[in-house]
Symmetry: D2
Subunit: 385 residues, 4 copies
């Protein structure tokens, strides 16, 4: 069989393609990250860059060694103690998943039973606080990738703060795709393999000044996930709690330098364009967007309902094996029902969307769901003109 492509391309909402300059940055002579001051300084400079990326005015950044899931657990482990009530803003797979983490640390998750196809309604959150006066912590997923949902971070964080509650935000797949304001947030978690387009393995933690009091009270016992230990060891003694990786740190640095070089505003506009093109393509394909309203469809990923009779696995197998384009299904209760195309970071370009929807359009045709590939591609081009 003739391959129609000469290079495979990942259009999954993470992990994403790694560009040549990122690989290049990893080809840097190893340092002893425990003992080399130059590395400590480099790491500190990178913290400041992340600080700026998140529009922080105060608070701390730590970049830790582990996949972003580690960061989510760290946030909960260090802030939830037995019996703490935690409001779970649960309009998605990951949003809902916070309840399990809270339970693991013996907190009491207060779930909301939100509709996954709708953004989390600030009013509902307000009411939930009213009903549960003793909630002292809420969890929110900014972009819930499995459903392609972008929640209204600014509105929600204001509501949460108005109830004197702490707020944990999973921004793993929103960072670097849309403006993320750290104001009114207490712990924000980012990862490396999403829109930052570097390998998985780094967790970004942004910590407010205020939450340290709570962290102290909770007094989490554990080493690798201990936030207080980081503060004590790194901030006061310039020592990492464990041997830090250097190659990923170099990669992250290059990734963030590129964002600032492009200009954050341009980066966010590029993602907005990608979203609009992606939504236009869905219309042309007559596919139903999973989120009910385009307004809160994520700038980093588009989730859509699979048409009647289209098998998720078969569809993805065709795009991958025949056309070299990997797209994603979904997780949990969305598995088999929802498919997704990522447009985060490197993916958010006209070219990559053309390639992704070209393969999707043809694969659907091959499975009997008829559509016009030229119209689909035209609908993407329309947005970019």
């Amino acid at each position: 069989m003739i391959k129609y492509y000469t290079d495979e391309i990942l259009m999954t909402p993470g992990p994403t393609q790694i560009s040549l300059d990122i690989y290049k940055s990893m080809i840097t002579k190893a340092k002893n990250t425990d003992l080399d001051e130059d590395f400590i300084n480099f790491y500190n400079d990178l913290r400041k860059k992340v600080f700026n990326l998140l529009n922080m005015k105060k608070g701390d950044i730590y970049i830790m060694l582990g996949e972003a899931m580690l960061g989510l657990e760290i946030a909960v482990a260090n802030t939830v103690k037995e019996g703490d009530k935690v409001l779970i803003i649960d309009n998605g797979v990951y949003g809902d998943g916070f309840k399990d983490l809270v339970k693991m640390y013996r907190g009491i998750p207060i779930t909301m039973g939100l509709d996954w196809r709708k953004e989390a309604d600030p009013n509902e959150i307000d009411k939930a606080f009213e009903k549960n006066k003793d909630i002292s912590l809420a969890t929110l997923v900014h972009c819930d990738t499995p459903s392609g949902m972008l929640n209204n971070l600014n509105e929600i964080s204001k509501i949460v703060k108005s109830h004197d509650s702490y707020l944990i935000v999973d921004a793993v797949s929103s960072i670097a795709t849309t403006n993320v304001e750290f104001q009114n947030i207490d712990i924000l978690i980012g990862g490396s393999q999403k829109a930052l387009n570097i390998p998985a393995g780094l967790t970004i933690m942004a910590i407010s000044e205020e939450i340290w009091e709570k962290i102290k009270k909770v007094n989490y016992q554990g080493y690798y996930m201990n936030l207080s230990l980081w503060k004590e060891m790194f901030d006061y003694n310039k020592t990492f709690p464990y041997t830090m990786n250097d190659t990923l740190i170099y990669a992250l640095n290059t990734s963030i330098d590129k964002l600032f070089e492009e200009g954050l505003e341009n980066v966010y506009k590029r993602h907005e364009l990608a979203k609009r093109a992606s939504l236009n393509a869905l219309k042309s394909l007559n596919l139903e967007l999973y989120p009910e309203d385009e307004r809160y469809s994520s700038p980093s990923v588009t989730a859509f309902l699979l048409p009647q009779g289209i098998n998720d696995k078969k569809l993805r197998e065709i795009t991958w094996k025949k056309y070299g384009v990997m797209i994603a299904g979904s997780w949990g209760k969305l598995e088999g029902k929802v498919a997704r195309i990522g447009h985060m970071g490197y993916q958010a370009s006209l070219n990559n969307l053309l390639i992704a929807y070209s393969s999707l359009s043809k694969a659907l045709n091959e499975l009997g769901y008829k559509n016009s590939v030229s119209e689909v591609l035209g609908s993407i081009e329309e947005v970019y003109t």
Copy 2:
């Protein structure tokens, strides 16, 4: 301004994109190429692979350090002596250019004044030999990139041989895009930066057994371009005439391994598909192919006439600066009249053609030459379905 792309792409007919595995192959510990037997063996193995790529049954392969232009001159310098009549099969910029090389070495070029928009006619070549009984050498460009022309190598080489003449063939941009039969050829030249997709800097020379007699007679005086010296030093003493580069040799090896892994038949079919898609796109754009007949339009590059009023430089500036796609103009008398899109090696894929023609279509629209981008993209897709 928002960039519509996240990665620039070269769609010029050489130099071409370099893929990650090629870069990777260059990250190999340096060897002393003068003294290290392992390197000599590696180089010899690579010669055999090139031998197979060219369907050779006998003859020699040398891979030299210099851009392919070096190889063209080596071919002439070593086979033309003062007063030698050389038939110049001149239906293109490079085809015609051989006459200058022949003059430099005091040969007498017998030009044919062929039409650049037509393939070289074997009958005309036959007649030229009939008219000039003392021609002992002919030069041919297999694929003349500036005009996107693919000459009929097999027919022409048979005719040349039937007149007992030697034949030099520039296959720089045809190798690895279509089957190249070394039979009936005496010196064939290939380069590294075309369909082999590695950096410029290597010249591939395939030499027939028969031509050595002529080489001996001509007795070219010179060092760097001396074929006899290569035979003497490398074949008999396993020593290069100068310090060989290793990184490019590793790159070439990886490139050729990939060809065999894909299967040469598949590689050629992939280029044929790319050609057909490219021609379909031209039709959709209502652009005129430069070669008069599609039959001899090259599988590695498509050359077309610029529409009335479209400025070559402006067109290319838009595709490059706005859309990140570099396409080419042409050279010599075609400059300003012809533009070209490469589809050689890595470029010969559905994805790359979509990207190239997307940018071309929009740039033309922006310059007032109206066309439908969705139809153009659809015309490419059509071929790949």
Copy 3:
């Protein structure tokens, strides 16, 4: 100032130099580690290689994303429940450190107060078990790097097993420097940045069949460090609990392939030679080895007492800033008293030892501790002749 070197070299006992082929292995096109079967298969093949490296006959290997410290905590977190008595074989900084981990998980550490300059005495361990019949778990550090101590793993593991106790072994800096027999061990932890010479970030966990029963009983609540989750998700569903990193996995694979290519016996002999040369150099320098007996000085690192009046930091600053060689001090109560030279993996070569001791010898001279550099270097050469 003229630099005496053209390349810096890390001779610290981890993190270590990374060689060119390791960097090269990381330049591999990113895969979606969640969805790509090829990656899952690659990972599984790597697990088998590690299985063989540890002479395992049964049990499981998991390679996790996090520094080796993560692995130590995982071992304790999953096997210690409130009130469990755990024997801490505490003849070193890390050996002793296990007691803190045990406390964090509300176990009761039974410390032994062992002499850090002596290997852990199997008889003492036997007695400790006799005294504390309810101990069900013991912890041991195979090579305690801060003191350059190699414990007798085989003897100790037999004793522990004879008391029907589980055994956790930190083999982070012994793996790939000396034969490690998994027999009689329940959880063994390895890391990536020591003798495997790749960046920090991977934790190797070897798990016995028997310990799963205990793990089930302990029923650790937590996600990122949950062993049962790995078994469930990866073994039964071929899904990682979080997005796995690929570049480090490729690096580890290359590292282990190189070990088998060299031959494990040769690798271990090379480390034994490096140890002997290092000890010979110490004698020539009239420096006191920290371990009381050379027999249990580690093949991966040599720890020695700083001579009277020699300031640790000054010494290391000279070797690093003037000669480009980074050596290490030590940790905890050894800080300022003990210095160390690593000879693990890539470092364990005649050349690297010459360079390390050349810089040490001169730096000591410059600080007033007189010695003959030529004799020191000669003492190393002696061993290699």
Copy 4:
């Protein structure tokens, strides 16, 4: 057999080790070197850096695609016409070799029959000019690597100029090891694989303003080696005569940036130290330096006579196969009599000399030539203290 090393090291006088940052620089996205203005500008900036490296006040730099041998031939081909008398300053393999190039281009080489163990005597050169009033061109090799000879470039160039003659200088293995003053030189040739420590493949040509008149007169017919063509095409039209390589250009740029970063004075001092250490080691080994006087022994390579009964090939096989250190024999009439250790660029460091002489010392011992390795190493250290 246990390998005593974990990494092979090239201590031959070219090609040399390539450091990680050089490899890294080659991992740069391919550019179309024909069409991309950014590349043209980059190349021009690099020309200026080389201009500064050679202390040029006027004249041109061209960086060409081919091994340095190409540059030597270009120099002769463009400046020698039939019957031209050329003074060959012939105190070495390459010095003498110029006569063959001159003959190839039908010039008349005036050889001097100089002693290869002595630097070229300016007085002798003066006399040669007196005897041959019609000499209009002289050739000189600054550092003749096969004999480890450094000629007195400044004195000689003044003498040559005082006779109104042009001067061609092969500085291939002196550039970046000692100060090279372009004053009084007409064509100077450098290469990439010597002290610049990048792969072979680039030729540096420095051309005086004055020589262009001669070049015009000679009117060399040929394409690839035509200097006038470079001037015309590149200087006036910003077009390379052939597709330029980019990866090597990036490597050269990084290499030269590193020189300036270290400081040229420091670079030259570092080479002077390396020379002194190397000569000290020879004394300790009781080996005879090939050049009669240390004064003109090269800072980039040390050539010595093999002791009675020591077989060149056996010696080098031991250092390479047993100790991983490649040293060189010599060429031409020195083959089998002289061996050489390079200390150019990256090699010129204490560490690399220790490793090189350690292997040499032991290999000589193994072949029956007794010596004390510790004294040899001590003699190197002596110089660096």
